[in-house]
Symmetry: D3
Subunit: 69 residues, 6 copies
């Protein structure tokens, strides 16, 4: 019955449907392997966060990407 | 002062404004009834999650819906 | 497949096991009634938050309770 | 390494990119000042929630705004 | 910069320190492999939820375990 | 009506009651200043996360602290 929430940047950096599927399968397999959890009740939710809405080091990701050129 | 977050699938399965209103009223009433909480400070947030972004059993909901035909 | 997270104050205000059970049943029934969701895959998680760790109006709940006398 | 999630109403009440940047900088500075945390690993995520999806007092924000006229 | 939150049941079912370490390494590696994310800024937080506080199918995990005998 | 969740490491690194109070006041003031939000309905919740349960760079904070000597 694990619940997993994965937050990654969206927009131009958003994962493709295939990558989302791979993340969901991968983290479900990980929980089976490490904790023997039941995959049928393992819930995984992926959130895509806009780069203006994600900050690290006191700056938005948009600002950081612009500064990184 | 309770805080409630309800995550459901969005897109074609998204709740209507009326259903969202009913969920908010219903969960607020539940917290009044069970824990005598003050409705005026009960916060309810509903998240609608894309079916590609919600996985159960190692598969996305999109995949599961397709397989269910 | 809904996911519901309920946060309430813990410590002296923590819900009893019976109240937690009632909250879980109540919110699951609400999602069946309003959105016809499958109760078997409806996940509800209750978090009990210490009163020092919950703030409203710029003050901790501990402070607010002391001021309310 | 703090993680901060700020949820505010979106739509017509959504913060501008400049306001988001100010929130990210402000909360990062606060964590440096109060807890001497490393800004370089302080993550801040802002969620903008639709007014139909945010309830207080058993009503959606949309309903509350309409009633407030 | 991904952020991952893993919620699993605690108490008698809580993961060991070694299992937590394995989950953190595994999900970080998964994000490197699938999305080429930087492990140095990948944050993983594991929450252990009491079995009275985790409900599925309208019942607490404690109830479900008792019924499963 | 903003909702803010601040997660920091707990245990030996846990904030004191005074620091929690300062964080709550500080982030509430920030939301008043930047977005003119009503402090009376601004909810702030602080989570203290065990160092075994918080991973960065594929390692738990416990491991990272030991390696940093």
């Amino acid at each position: 019955m694990p619940y997993v929430n994965i937050k990654v940047t969206g927009g131009a950096e958003a994962p493709t449907p295939e990558q989302k599927s791979e993340l969901i399968r991968g983290v479900t397999d990980l929980l089976v392997r490490v904790l023997n959890k039941n995959p049928a009740t393992t819930v995984v939710i992926i959130d895509e966060v806009d780069m203006d809405n994600w900050g690290v080091g006191g700056k938005t990701t948009t600002q950081r990407r612009q500064e990184a050129g």
